[in-house]
């Protein structure tokens, strides 16, 4: 393949060669079922437990608090549904935000149909929910607060430790979807008073199809899939041993030196944002300027639609993402961009790039040049731009 610039690491990442190497023996050599009593089974079981310890260490948890899943979305579904089911006699109110991933939003919407009451808190212009807003939303019937650690589209980091402290003080269960934050921001579930946390391996150079849910010891977790004794009877099904091994190795590598990685990515990100805003007129940054994931930059370009931008970038060998409706298969643009106050047409014209340590400052220049050229071209055929220019005169 031609040399391409991949800047969609918030969508998924390349599996690290060391992760792949760690996984390979668990296909054809150590292929036993972890539930089997003989040598092959014991070896597989040991590998699963090593990975469980690796995941636990990475977030400051204990191995017994980690449950493997097939994805981050599954972990979100499980956490929220389990809390709702286990605590329904205590109350029926759930607090979340308007900018959560659909795995959380759609699960909450589905629970509303089952009689639960959900508060979707608004966010500020940078995409942050305020701790006071969470506090004011709490009622006697509140059984769960679920707030994402960092936003997948605009990268804004939420005040998780503060919300955790509040939830603890009020005795309310607190879940966070940390899918985008793992390996980017230091996380300690004990210090941050997080009761449940969702993560997935493929966002930090692990394999797709590997996820985990942390559940604090003492929190009741209901069964999600029935039929076997795996994951302490909570999630039946033979373990994805190689995937779990990969997840364990990947999270160990991703969290070994977060400050160094974050510093490099922040430099790429800030250089990109600065150059883009200097080069392209009528562009604005989405999300918080500082409280954001180190590799995430999301910029809206007025008068154009994002899909065309992505297609032209692809032709130039650049892979990125957009909050445009046309790339999502629906007619509505990103709920996150609308929640931070962007107009529909601005939301349609957004571009998200998410850097990885393999990207360079040279890539940044290439992307800025390409985007500037494409935006100009799309604007030249946009009736919105034509109208805008006429009004300027």
């Amino acid at each position: 393949m031609e040399k391409r610039i991949y800047v969609d690491n918030a969508a998924t990442t390349k599996t690290d060669s060391r992760v792949l190497e760690a996984m390979l023996p668990y296909f054809a050599e150590v292929y036993g079922n972890p539930s089997s009593i003989y040598a092959e089974g014991r070896a597989a079981k040991a590998a699963v437990e090593t990975a469980r310890a690796q995941v636990a260490t990475a977030i400051g948890a204990e191995a017994g608090e980690i449950y493997f899943t097939g994805s981050g979305s599954e972990a979100d579904n499980w956490a929220i549904r389990s809390a709702a089911k286990a605590l329904k006699d205590k109350g029926n109110h759930i607090i979340t935000t308007a900018v959560e991933h659909h795995a959380v939003l759609h699960t909450c919407q589905s629970l509303e149909k089952e009689g639960f009451e959900v508060t979707y808190l608004p966010v500020d212009a940078f995409g942050r929910v305020s701790v006071d807003a969470v506090k004011n939303a709490i009622k006697d019937t509140t059984i769960l607060i679920t707030v994402m650690f960092a936003n997948n589209e605009i990268g804004t980091i939420m005040p998780i430790a503060e919300i955790g402290a509040l939830a603890k003080e009020k005795g309310i269960l607190f879940h966070t979807d940390a899918v985008q934050a793992i390996g980017m921001v230091p996380i300690n579930v004990k210090e941050m008073h997080i009761d449940m946390l969702s993560l997935t391996g493929h966002k930090f150079h692990g394999p797709k199809g590997s996820g985990a849910l942390y559940v604090r010891k003492g929190v009741k977790l209901t069964s999600f899939i029935t039929g076997g004794a795996q994951e302490k009877n909570r999630r039946a099904g033979t373990e994805n041993v190689a995937g779990i091994v990969g997840l364990g190795k990947a999270i160990e590598l991703a969290t070994e030196d977060i400050p160094k990685k974050a510093a490099y990515l922040t430099k790429l990100r800030d250089t990109y944002i600065q150059k883009m805003l200097d080069t392209v007129p009528y562009a604005q940054l989405n999300g918080h300027p500082e409280e954001r994931l180190p590799g995430n930059a999301n910029i809206s370009f007025s008068f154009i639609e994002g899909e065309g931008l992505l297609l032209f970038l692809d032709m130039k060998g650049i892979s990125a993402s957009s909050g445009s409706a046309c790339t999502s298969g629906s007619l509505d643009p990103s709920h996150v961009l609308l929640a931070i106050g962007r107009k529909h047409e601005e939301a349609h014209g957004s571009l998200r790039v998410s850097f990885d340590t393999e990207n360079t400052l040279e890539d940044v220049d290439t992307i800025v040049t390409a985007v500037a050229e494409i935006v100009e071209r799309l604007r030249s055929m946009s009736p919105l731009y034509e109208t805008f220019l006429k009004e300027q005169k």
Partner: protein, 149 residues
């Protein structure tokens, strides 16, 4: 996900631009939905032949490609012939569109009809029966005459 023809018309769109002395202009869609098509026509008032046609589109790859193809299909045709151009004809000429993008072809058909509507209006004449759109379409989820494949 797009056919080669769609990619061709998206990356090298035909008839992009404005016509200064257009005697028929149609605009459909709205920015909320993420697509707006504006079509300019220069129609010979004696022969009713569309002598020139240009477009400007705010929208996705399919919106740009359907605009481009629609202008190609009506260029040099009579107003009566252009009125008969369906969204299906645009889709077929582009070797198909993904199902979620079919509404773009409907928009292209409506943009052409809207321009023709304007042509009659400009001349103080009653637009012929059967013209589907006069620059309507307030809602993103409301697309009339959409033909499923």
């Amino acid at each position: 996900m797009y056919s080669e023809k769609v990619m061709d018309h998206f990356s090298n769109p035909r008839n992009v631009g404005e016509i200064e002395d257009a005697n028929a202009v149609g605009e459909v869609g709205n920015p909320q939905c993420g697509d707006i098509m504006k079509i300019y026509m220069k129609i010979n008032e004696e022969t009713n032949i569309i002598e020139d046609v240009k477009f400007k589109t705010f929208g996705c790859g399919a919106a740009i490609a359907t605009s481009s193809m629609a202008t190609e299909l009506v260029k040099g045709k009579s107003v009566d012939e252009a009125m008969q151009m369906t969204n299906k004809a645009v889709v077929e000429a582009l070797d198909g569109l993904p199902p979620v993008k079919l509404h773009c072809s409907v928009l292209a058909e409506e943009a052409v009809q809207s321009a023709i509507f304007n042509y009659y209006e400009n001349r103080g004449m009653t637009p012929p029966e059967g013209l589907k759109c006069s620059g309507c379409c307030g809602s993103c989820h409301h697309h009339h005459h959409e033909e499923e494949e």
